[in-house]
């Protein structure tokens, strides 16, 4: 079963360069053409389910605009 991952896009930094779009192995990223960042770029977003939190998008991002999360493999114990 694939891990669930998700990203946060810092819209101050994202310049809509699309390097992550091309690099994403799951093809779940694209530029959001309905929105503009304060600098006037189209920010990237997840347009579909399927992010595995692999982090490749963050590896290629020139602006460190992406924070990548992934579900932990082992469920953590909280107040057990």
């Amino acid at each position: 079963m694939a891990l669930k991952g998700w990203i946060e896009v810092n819209e101050l930094h994202c310049k809509g360069c699309s390097l992550c779009v091309e690099a994403c192995p799951q093809d779940v990223m694209s530029l959001d053409m309905d929105r503009l960042t304060p600098k006037g770029y189209h920010p990237v977003h997840l347009h579909a389910e399927g992010c595995t939190g692999c982090g490749i998008c963050a590896i290629v991002c020139p602006d460190a605009a992406l924070t990548v999360y992934r579900e932990a493999k082992q469920p953590a114990r909280v107040n057990a």
């Binding site: 310049k15 390097l19 091309e22 590896i59 020139p62 460190a64 992934r70 953590a76």
Partner: protein, 257 residues
């Protein structure tokens, strides 16, 4: 019932400042900055690092890092870094330079810093063109490549051949770690980061001059989209500037990080 907590797989490194860079969208300067910052974080060097910024697109590099920085004259960063490291040997000193800065006007300074075995680290951004001044020919411009000062393509008869700095510097005995990597895809970026790590390890262990040459893109002046520019690196630059390890000190070769 157990709760699933998220792992952070990647977040912005602490050694990067929060400023938005002025680099063009898709410019791999940003990737190189990020990698240096990640390595400084991992090695816990931020508080003792002094960077030397070049003249070029990255003239404002000091705005994007969270550590002490000085600004050099064009090409003189290795000399400045030498001055700093000689009076502050306990600090970590690196230069960040482009191809005009390092291989043109700064050729004497980089050669002699390497020859003297200065314990500094050099991050060399090779994008085969002069970005900041609007796309002129660089010492690393490929034969036939069109630039504003080689408008019909670099003619080797009158304009000479590109210079391979990693190979040249690796021949100097003072060099401890001289490698060339590329930033054109995630796999190569991972390898580049490892190389940057080993370069700083070389400095921390006093093993001589270290340099990582990074094949980089300039989408704006190459007149390509960011992704096309990465393909240009892979298909056109790598054959002229082969990736690899040109000089690796034995201690570094044995290092497992």
């Amino acid at each position: 019932m157990a709760t699933v907590l998220p792992n952070i797989v990647y977040q912005r490194p602490a050694s990067l400042s929060t400023r938005v860079t002025h680099y063009c969208p898709g410019c791999t300067h940003g990737v190189a900055h990020r990698l240096v910052a990640e390595v400084l974080d991992e090695m816990d060097l931020r508080e003792k690092t002094i960077g030397v910024a070049p003249v070029g697109c990255s003239v404002f590099a000091y705005n994007y890092f969270n550590h002490d920085y000085v600004e050099a004259a064009h090409g003189r960063a290795p000399a400045m870094a030498t001055g700093i490291k000689r009076v502050l040997p306990q600090n970590t000193v690196y230069t960040y330079q482009g191809d005009g800065d390092l291989a043109s006007i700064g050729m004497a300074e980089i050669m002699h810093a390497a020859a003297r075995g200065e314990n500094i680290t050099v991050i060399f951004i090779n994008n085969a063109i002069y970005g900041m001044t609007g796309g002129q020919m660089a010492p690393t411009t490929l034969p036939g490549m069109v630039t504003t000062s080689s408008p019909v393509g670099r003619d080797v008869e009158s304009m000479g051949f590109p210079i391979r700095m990693a190979e040249i510097l690796s021949n100097l005995d003072g060099a401890g770690y001289v490698v060339r990597r590329s930033l054109h895809d995630a796999t190569n970026i991972r390898k580049a980061k490892k190389a940057i790590r080993l370069a700083f390890e070389t400095q921390e262990r006093g093993l001589g001059f270290s340099m990582v040459e990074l094949l980089s893109s300039c989408p704006t002046n190459w007149k390509l989209t960011p992704n096309e520019a990465l393909t240009f690196i892979e298909e056109n630059m790598v054959p002229t500037f082969p990736l690899g390890d040109y000089k690796v000190n034995q201690e570094i070769a044995r290092l497992r990080v």
